[in-house]
């Protein structure tokens, strides 16, 4: 058991975010502060965006296609359920040992956490589209790809975006422990508590929480923009 930390304070944490603080182990060099916080926010976003992009490239077309064909339900739904049972800590720890450290190793593995929700929701969203709508599209001469792109995807936007939001938050959350595999993120403040101290720890937690809420909010906004007005009327 590690000895319990002295009580950290929220005021101390906010000071840490904006102005560099003394540290016990850096030999007088100050740690934290606004520039460092901003740098880590950017790095955190970098690894999140790359991993999310990889997950999207893999899972979105596959989910849309499977949903369009109405095939592989067991696979898409089963993977979505199994994905929730994956312990993130084990994933990150295994990457560090077996594959290697650094962004190019960690980002693809973080992407694995994003694949199940995106695939699952893309499948469900497209599969739920009224078959008579799809038949009508086919009847006016649309090809299969056009049907997915112009009919099914727009109708499925809320469900598909729901999956993307889950994936983004899962990846962003797990990026917090990415420093264990040699990728800098806001988790540095949390995991290197001997360098950044208890205020740094709390500052890291605050920044991760705010970042997650911001990203979730922005994606919710994007979802509203992407959803056609007709669908909004129906759901109200």
């Amino acid at each position: 058991m590690t000895p319990s930390l002295p009580i950290a304070s929220f005021t101390g944490a906010f000071e840490f975010i904006f102005t560099p603080q003394e540290s016990n182990v850096t030999g007088g060099k100050k740690v934290g502060g606004f520039d460092k916080s901003l740098e880590l926010v950017v790095k955190h976003l970098e690894v999140t965006v790359i991993a999310l992009a990889i997950a999207l490239i893999i899972a979105l077309p596959l989910g849309l296609w499977l949903g369009h064909r109405g095939k592989g339900e067991q696979f898409a739904i089963g993977l979505g359920n199994a994905g929730r049972a994956i312990p993130e800590l084990a994933v990150i720890a295994l990457v560090a040992v077996l594959i290697g450290v650094g962004l190019h190793n960690v980002a693809p593995v973080l992407a694995i956490l994003g694949v199940p929700p995106i695939l699952n929701n893309a499948y469900v969203g497209v599969q739920q589209v009224d078959r008579s709508t799809v038949d009508a599209a086919r009847g006016i001469g649309m090809g299969e790809m056009t049907i997915i792109r112009k009919v099914e995807l727009p109708i499925a936007v809320p469900t598909v975006m729901g999956g993307i939001r889950s994936a983004a938050i899962a990846i962003l959350a797990t990026a917090t422990i990415a420093p264990l595999a040699g990728v800098e993120s806001l988790g540095d403040f949390i995991l290197n508590r001997n360098v950044y101290g208890e205020n740094g720890l709390l500052a890291g937690a605050i920044l991760v929480a705010l970042l997650a809420l911001t990203i979730e909010g922005l994606l919710a906004l994007l979802q509203r923009r992407l959803t056609s007005d007709g669908l909004k009327l129906k759901t109200v």
């Binding site: 319990s4 312990p87 077996l98 962003l172 264990l180 949390i190 979730e216």
Partner: protein, 244 residues
């Protein structure tokens, strides 16, 4: 750490491992994917962490369920509460659990209590939303029929609406349980024990331990999921009749 053990000839490792010191072999090759002999010799190391894991997960689920269920009943009676409660539990659900653990440090310190608080807060959204939707989805005609038979509002809730909402409630509970079991591995970061202790720390460079602990987590999730499915089958006998 594992005491060095000498492998008998012809066992899993085959000729290559004959009479080699397996403990050292596994340590010397951290990228060696899975060391069966270490696993066989050290499987008892995982007993206590598994129990600790359950000691975090089960109270978290129970507390989360009780609160979410009460909130759902409240929102069912006063509909205007639905949107704000959904938003509030959504915020708790969005804050990454690691951040949540450390945000609570000034209030509840290190250890199991903090882990239980965070994980139960995390389950609220899923259980609340599903219970609420389950209750909302009960057809009005069914409620009218019950009222016609002389049921009071309280009886309608407990004898008609809630039983009909069981599949949705259990579906939410299953998602909550499975993700809680996975996330509880992070409790190691706030010294709350659990299976995360076998993944992070001294064992970070030893894949066998990480894989075994990860497998126990996933099996535990699978087990609870199957158990809840069974509960659903037992509590909704009418659905089986319909499907037959």
């Amino acid at each position: 750490m594992a005491s060095p053990l000498v492998l008998a000839a012809g066992e899993v490792g085959g000729d290559f491992f004959r009479e080699r010191n397996v403990g050292d072999l596994c340590q010397a090759q951290p990228d060696h994917l899975f060391c069966w002999d270490w696993a066989k010799e050290n499987i008892d190391r995982f007993g206590t962490p598994t129990v600790q894991h359950l000691q975090i997960v089960i109270p978290a689920i129970v507390i989360g369920f009780v609160i979410a269920f009460a909130l759902a009943l409240l929102a069912h009676r006063s509909r205007w509460l639905q949107a704000p409660l959904l938003a509030a539990t959504g915020i708790l659900y969005t804050v990454p659990s690691i951040a949540f653990f450390f945000l609570l440090l000034p209030l509840s310190g290190l250890g199991r209590d903090t882990a239980i608080i965070v994980l139960s807060a995390y389950t609220l959204q899923i259980i609340f939303r599903n219970t609420m939707l389950g209750l909302n989805n009960v057809p009005n005609s069914v409620k009218d029929a019950a009222r016609g038979m002389g049921f009071t509002n309280r009886q309608i809730l407990w004898k008609v609406e809630l039983p009909l909402a069981v599949p949705e409630i259990i579906a939410g509970l299953r998602v909550a349980v499975v993700s809680t079991i996975a996330i509880a591995t992070l409790a190691v970061l706030i010294s709350a024990g659990g299976l995360g202790t076998q993944m992070y720390g001294a064992n970070l460079t030893f894949p066998t331990s990480i894989i075994i602990a990860g497998a126990i987590v996933m099996l535990m999730a699978l087990g609870f999921d199957a158990l809840l499915l069974l509960v659903q089958r037992l509590t909704t006998p009418w659905r089986r009749v319909k499907q037959a």
